[in-house]
Symmetry: C2
Subunit: 346 residues, 2 copies
């Protein structure tokens, strides 16, 4: 197996000899070369200019021996064509939160080619230059709805959680529209060349299993089923979701990304044979070298029980030193999973 | 058993005939009579004026048949005498975050009578007028340290999580000081008349079990052990803590407060015989009456396996209608746990 297919092999369920590694938000603010671009352009300029999105996507690959690239965009990318106005300050801020059945019914469901043609362009440019598989992505409907109704980020998302309880039918109509837009947006990414798709359900963990079954699972399932004919690996991320793994296990996806809270060895039996992705605490990358090595090796060891893609448990912190990332990537690349398993078996 | 001792009985491990009920932040912004006081006073004026703190504590008891009162204060109350300046806007904002070993070493550990004499006064006033047991409380050292180092609330507490990884020895010195101050502050509350103590570890769930064992558990244990001679029930709250219950089970406390994410029936076996408190999703109180009844009954049913104090899984939301609280309290008071158990056994 060549190194360039290592990520896809692990994502497709192979218990590879070494764990492939990529890093959530690897193209981002901890990199000085990213900040140099960001100093000259707004977020939307970077996202909507294919050459810039391509350049930012490729930046971390020039520094580190990563096994996958991830498209530079935001989960908000497909929303403005639905008729909402979003700025970044630096988190997303909605000019008008969507808080009524009427506002939901007024949202457009744009056609596949209208949503984000610049993303298709960026993907084509990236694929020409990128030495490793390219992951496309989108936000899960429940997480997109969380931001749309709350109007931005929040500590407890009280407006959104209240809306789900007060107006469940309107919430379902919103989730249905977001699902349809997500299917169009993500199949467009695959057709343009994305070799895997990750669905980010960052706020799923706010909800109990009953709410997840009602408001998240059927929509996530529809998206993953729509991607099935393309035979690309489907990755799912939820944070704070230990209480939801009984539901997540049943989603038709190949990979589940696990946050740093529980060790992979404890999570694996709950997720029934899926490839696990994760789960180093991003704060570890702020620690001295010795701690990074020790904690990364612990994650690698906890991951030995089945297919594992090494990653952080959540996005990299902006104060991270790129040299620490280089150290981490080298360590993961050197870790021979077969040898360690044999040594511990004997 | 009289109704006035119901809360203490359940907190001490008795599987009472009905579940006592109190509500986190029951004295707070969802009540118009609280907002009327707040319109005229700053938070610190309300907290530091015993008559106001007493009045606010008693307000919800005049409306609802609650089984316990909780002192009106904030977990930040004992910190200013250590030498930090905190304002509320409305969340806590530290004038100077504590971010260095030097700043930590400069923190004072005030004597028991210096920390908050106004709290002792308030407790005495409340006890004269309060028909139900009074719960005192404080923040757990890790959670207090989270705010002190971060400088306020935050989405991911990156500064704090980084500090724990970069400066663990300094963090331990801070936690040690906060533990000593907490012991002094909480024993003072009990000596003034508090009949139970709840330790709020709101941000414990940010950490994996190893970090919890290192930075939270030994300090929480010291506090609970210092309270042991008073023979009052000790309550512990952590949010987002399903992955930590193996550790929390071992704390010397009688009650664990459970957030809304996992049902009590699933959590109970993980907490080995402790009384469970919780765990209605606060967002349910924003729903129509029928949904409130259905969800509250579900929580009551899930709690039947052992001692249960009914509460929300987290603080009440400020947009809650007080009439919904009245409905909830009545429903819980009418729910006969013995009869339901017998009916389901036959």
């Amino acid at each position: 197996m060549t190194d360039t297919s290592l990520f896809l092999a692990a994502a497709n369920g192979h218990n590879t000899e070494r764990a492939p590694i990529w890093i959530m938000r690897q193209a981002g603010r901890y990199l000085p070369e990213y900040r140099a671009i960001k100093a000259k352009h707004s977020f939307w300029e970077m996202a909507r200019t294919p050459e810039l999105a391509c350049e930012i996507t490729l930046q971390p690959l020039r520094r580190f021996g990563l096994d996958a690239a991830i498209l530079f965009q935001d989960i908000m990318t497909p929303l403005p064509p639905m008729g909402v106005k979003i700025e970044f300050a630096p988190g997303p801020v909605f000019a008008e939160p969507v808080r009524s059945a009427r506002a939901i019914d007024a949202l457009r469901v744009p056609g596949k080619d209208e949503i984000a043609p610049f993303v298709a362009e960026a993907i084509k440019l990236i694929r020409e230059a990128c030495p490793v598989p390219l992951i496309g992505f989108g936000g899960a409907p429940l997480t997109l709805a969380t931001y749309m109704i709350e109007g931005g980020s929040s500590k407890d998302f009280e407006a959104f959680r209240g809306f789900l309880r007060q107006e469940p039918e309107a919430a379902h109509r919103l989730l249905d529209k977001l699902t349809e837009v997500s299917i169009r947006y993500l199949t467009m990414q695959v057709e343009a060349g994305a070799q895997a798709i990750q669905l980010f359900d960052s706020w799923a963990g706010l909800h109990d299993a009953r709410s997840y079954r009602a408001f998240a699972k059927p929509y996530n399932r529809r998206i993953f089923e729509a991607l099935a004919p393309y035979r690309i690996p489907r990755l799912y991320l939820a944070v704070d979701a230990l209480h939801l793994y009984g539901e997540i296990k049943e989603l038709p996806c190949e990979v589940v990304s696990v946050d740093w809270r529980a060790p992979l060895s404890q999570v694996r039996p709950l997720l029934g044979g899926k490839t696990l992705q994760g789960n180093l605490d991003p704060a570890v990358l702020l620690a001295p070298k010795g701690v990074i090595a020790q904690e990364a090796e612990r994650v690698l060891r906890e991951g030995l029980g089945g297919p594992h893609i090494f990653n952080l448990g959540h996005g990299i912190m902006r104060q991270t030193d790129p040299d620490s990332v280089a150290q981490l990537v080298e360590l993961v690349r050197r870790y021979d999973r077969v040898k360690v398993r044999e040594a511990s078996a004997s």
